[in-house]
């Protein structure tokens, strides 16, 4: 028996989501069984079933360094601050021009 991972997608902009896994003797049985085990109640309209052996797995150590890069978390606050500062600067120059 192989282990398969099951993904479903609903209509619209939602992405495919992992919904679970199952064991099956071959690809055809995996598709057949995934239908009754995971889409019994119209949980999705599109289904991907992936042999777990075909999933490429990145090493945790390889991924880990990227966990500590807060500068890549751009919430827009720095840009907003600069733009505010920029607007304030141009207001001052307008005032000086009127003088």
């Amino acid at each position: 028996m192989n282990v398969y991972e099951v993904f479903l997608k609903k209509q619209g902009k939602d992405e495919f989501r992992h919904v679970g896994s199952l064991e099956a003797a071959n690809d055809e049985l995996a598709i057949v069984l995934a239908r009754e085990n995971y889409v019994r109640r119209a949980e999705g309209e599109l289904m991907w079933v992936v042999d777990r052996d075909h999933v490429l797995v990145g090493d945790e150590e390889f991924i880990a360094p990227n966990a500590d890069k807060p500068h890549r978390h751009n919430d827009g606050s720095l840009v907003a601050e600069r733009r505010r500062a920029g607007r304030a600067g141009s207001d001052e120059s307008d005032e000086s021009g009127a003088m």
Binding site: M1, E23, A25, R35, N37
Partner: protein, 253 residues
């Protein structure tokens, strides 16, 4: 809607009883199928068959009463008849306590069922056509499921021997599925197409393709006498399916 005559009702009631008993027997595998995923899949197929039975019972009752089908009337037909009044075939009554038998029976029955619905899909009765359309969409899955399991087991010697033995056990019941029920003579062609017995050669050809050429002359069909005789295993399945309703036969549900 085309009015169904007594002969058409006899045909559809027998089909409904087949679906009902098949669904009931499949559900006996809940919790004990060979593996978890199959447990759920097989029970779902049984649930589909029970749904087909309910649609057919409603059709038979609607035609009799001319009114909106009532749940009680369907229940009465499904659960409150005497054994001699059921018209199920022996294939669906069989206990099939071995998985190989249950799997072979599943394939034999669903192959016959798909042929029947295919025939009824051409009916002049719009309700029957609609039911057949829905059932056919489910049957495609049932057959794919049965074929996928048989294909997966095909390479294994032990499984092959078990399936061969199950087929020998089931074929005399399978060929008798095409016995016409009592009172079905003269069913109007436009309502139920050909006599459903006429589908037997197509079914036998499908069996040959799946399991290899059979010696059909040596397969002795069981004698169901117009489907008026119940087989020995019926008694227990009859008791099981009536267990709750008979706790209080007059209860309002």
């Amino acid at each position: 809607m085309t009015a169904l005559g007594p002969a058409e009702r006899a045909v559809l009631l027998a089909f409904a009883d087949d679906e009902h008993l098949m669904g009931q027997r499949h559900t006996e595998w809940i919790g004990v199928a060979p593996f978890l995923e199959e447990d759920l899949a097989f029970a779902s197929i049984g649930q589909d068959e029970l749904g087909h039975a309910a649609m057919l019972y409603e059709l038979v009752i609607a035609d009799l009463s001319g009114e909106t089908p009532r749940a009680e009337a369907v229940d009465a037909l499904a659960f409150r008849r005497e054994p001699a009044d059921y018209r199920s075939c022996w294939l669906v009554e069989a206990a099939c306590t071995e998985w190989a038998s249950a799997l072979v029976r599943h394939w034999l029955y669903d192959t016959a069922e798909a042929l029947r619905w295919g025939e009824l899909a051409g009916s002049s009765d719009e309700h029957l056509r609609a039911i057949a359309g829905r059932a056919m969409s489910e049957e495609r899955y049932h057959l794919r499921h049965a074929d996928a399991l048989l294909d997966a087991l095909a390479g294994d010697a032990d499984a092959g021997a078990r399936i061969a033995a199950a087929l020998t056990e089931m074929l005399p019941l399978g060929v008798a599925l095409f016995d016409e029920p009592l009172g079905s003579d003269g069913a109007v062609e436009s309502v139920v197409g050909r006599p459903l017995a006429a589908l037997a050669p197509e079914w036998r050809a499908a069996v040959d393709r799946r399991f290899g050429q059979r010696e059909w002359a040596t397969v002795e069909p069981v004698v169901q006498d117009g489907r008026t005789l119940r087989s020995a295993p019926f008694e227990t399945v009859y008791a099981d399916m009536r267990e709750v309703i008979m706790l209080d036969p007059d209860a309002t549900w």
